[in-house]
């Protein structure tokens, strides 16, 4: 598995796309930190990068990579290697590369300009999102045979989690605003990795606003150490679940 991951990493490093992504993140982070005198505001701007751009690049890159590596996977499947070994190896390789890009691109500037708990949480949520969206991209790549359909499905899933989902939640809140919805909202947020990541950062960033009446309920839940474990646990589920489904599909897949 690690051997396959190693070759995947070699292969990714040879293309310039990952390098470009790293540089992009690095430039954006550096620009935000150096142009903005207020550190907190840079973190806010970085947050939108982490919540939107990082998942988007993660799905697009992973899906494209997967279809480009189709030959390699075909080659591997005819070898004495288990299918789960192959897919997990691919995942590890992609995950390692993307995480490295994210940590260099965002983590290093963060360490230089804003080495605090806030920065740590932002890195944690960005890392979690990178992994879960790679996992989601693996799902659509394995489920769709056609490259265009696979990328389309990945983009659709990204759009769903990044935009549509919260709109649906808003709609639900609007329709049921007369009911007590604390628990429902926590459950709803758990069904979207981007919401989980966002809430993790919110607990550090908007603590003042969250002390208001309804916010306090969430602050109590997500702000506690149990809440952190819960959030990280759900993030982990969002990494493992799509990957596990991908492995199941891949085991039966005809190449």
């Amino acid at each position: 598995m690690l051997k396959i991951a190693k070759y995947v990493v070699y292969d990714i490093l040879r293309s310039k796309v990952l390098l470009a992504y790293t540089l992009f993140l690095l430039l954006v982070s550096l620009a935000l930190f150096s142009l903005e005198t207020d550190g907190a505001k840079s973190v806010v701007s970085l947050l939108s990068i982490v919540l939107i751009i990082v998942p988007l690049i993660s799905v697009v890159f992973t899906t494209t990579y997967f279809y480009n590596a189709y030959e390699f996977i075909e080659l591997l499947v005819a070898q004495p290697l288990g299918r789960n070994t192959i897919l997990l190896g691919e995942f590890l390789g992609v995950a390692f590369s993307m995480m490295a890009a994210f940590l260099i691109g965002v983590g290093v500037p963060m360490l230089v300009y804003s080495p605090n708990a806030m920065g740590g949480v932002l890195l944690l949520s960005g890392g979690g999102l990178t992994l879960s969206f790679i996992s989601i991209a693996f799902f659509s790549s394995v489920a769709m045979r056609d490259k265009a359909k696979g990328i389309g499905m990945s983009l659709l899933l990204w759009f769903y989690f990044a935009v549509i989902y919260d709109a649906i939640v808003l709609g639900i809140l609007f329709s049921f605003s007369d009911y007590p919805l604390e628990k429902a909202v926590i459950a709803l947020a758990s069904l979207n990795p981007i919401d989980m990541a966002r809430i993790m950062v919110l607990m550090k960033l908007d603590i003042s606003a969250l002390m208001g009446f309804t916010g306090a309920v969430y602050k109590q839940f997500f702000g506690s150490s149990f809440g952190l474990v819960y959030t990280l646990g759900i993030m982990l589920v969002w990494i493992i679940l799509p990957l596990a489904v991908s492995v199941r599909i891949f085991k039966k897949k005809n190449l």
Partner: protein, 411 residues
Amino acid sequence: MRYIFSLLLLVSILFCEAKVITLCNQCEIKELKQAIAVSKPFDTLLIKKGIYTCMNETINKPLTVIGENRPALDGQLKDEVLVVMSDHVNIIGIEIRNSKCGSMKDYSGLRVFKSKDVKIEDCVLFNTYFGIYLSDSKHILVKNCKSKGANYGNSDTGNGIHLWKCDSVQIEDCHLEGHRDGIYLEFAKHCFIQNNYCEKNFRYGVHFMFSDNDIYENNTFTNNGTGVAVMYSKGVHMFNNKFQNNWGDASYGLLLKDMSNGIINGNSFENNTIGVTMEGGTNMRFEKNNFTKNGYAMKVMANCRLDTFVRNNFAGNTFDASTNGELKENLFENNYWDKYEGYDLNRDKVGDIPYRPVSLYSVLVEQMPYAVMLMRSFTIDILNRAEKNIPSIVPETFVDDKPLMKMISQK
């Protein structure tokens, strides 16, 4: 005022044959009651270090009471400790402790009643129900005193310094902690409150009721239950105070209710759930204040009129403003808003397009509080932007037509 006092003291020492009566545990005079009884007006009582039982002792003539190495007067939780009922009394360097607690009467450590020209300095109040209780008095100075609320339980504690029907009271350099209200003023006029530090009071750091023409400046109010409240008062000026770290579902830095003609200048509101809440404010002027890192920088209710907000900084707040209707006749101008995304083509340092501090999302949260969980969502961002371009829900008159491009230095 202090100088007049000193002069009076000097005069009395020179011409009235004032003498010094010394109290100590081994002295002839061991109790304050005795000392007061034998003293003549304008005498000085010197209390040596030690603990003296003192229950509801009344100073009924002009005296100067000075503690040496801060002796303690102990009420033994049975009554009030010390009462002043005379003009020209000075109380300096004394600790007052263990007053009775009770809901029938506002027991206090030090009560000043119907007196003028009283000076209380360097005193420490400890475990008293009310700390210093001033009523029907004029020209009082409270300086460099410390009061820590009694441990009677959260709700059952009085105020640190309580003013009722007072005039020209000056409170400075005091530290008030763990009371119901740090400083409470009711029907108190012409008071001057400066350089105090009020923290961890269960209700308000400072609480004004029906108190007109007062000034407070350079105070710090931090971690109080719900912040600072100024209600039903006219002409209260607030300069260079710090309102910070008031967190809770009904917490704010500053609550203004039915206020008029106040000036709020050079204050900083930081890390509060709500920076300023204003209900029924008329002719209030907010200038050069800093609003930073609050949940809401300000909530201005629709019943506020003729108020002015100029040259304030709003930065790092989750929401800049919120309201409950259409604001009328209020002016927002030349403030700096860090969320402003306009441009300045003519380079006059003023943005060319107006800024609306009330976002669609803050209106939504007002109506469906659970939506607070969607804060900073991309979807919300899109909605806010859409609303900014085609305003339909956010109040149209809540607008800064001349937002500044750069933060203003308030110093």
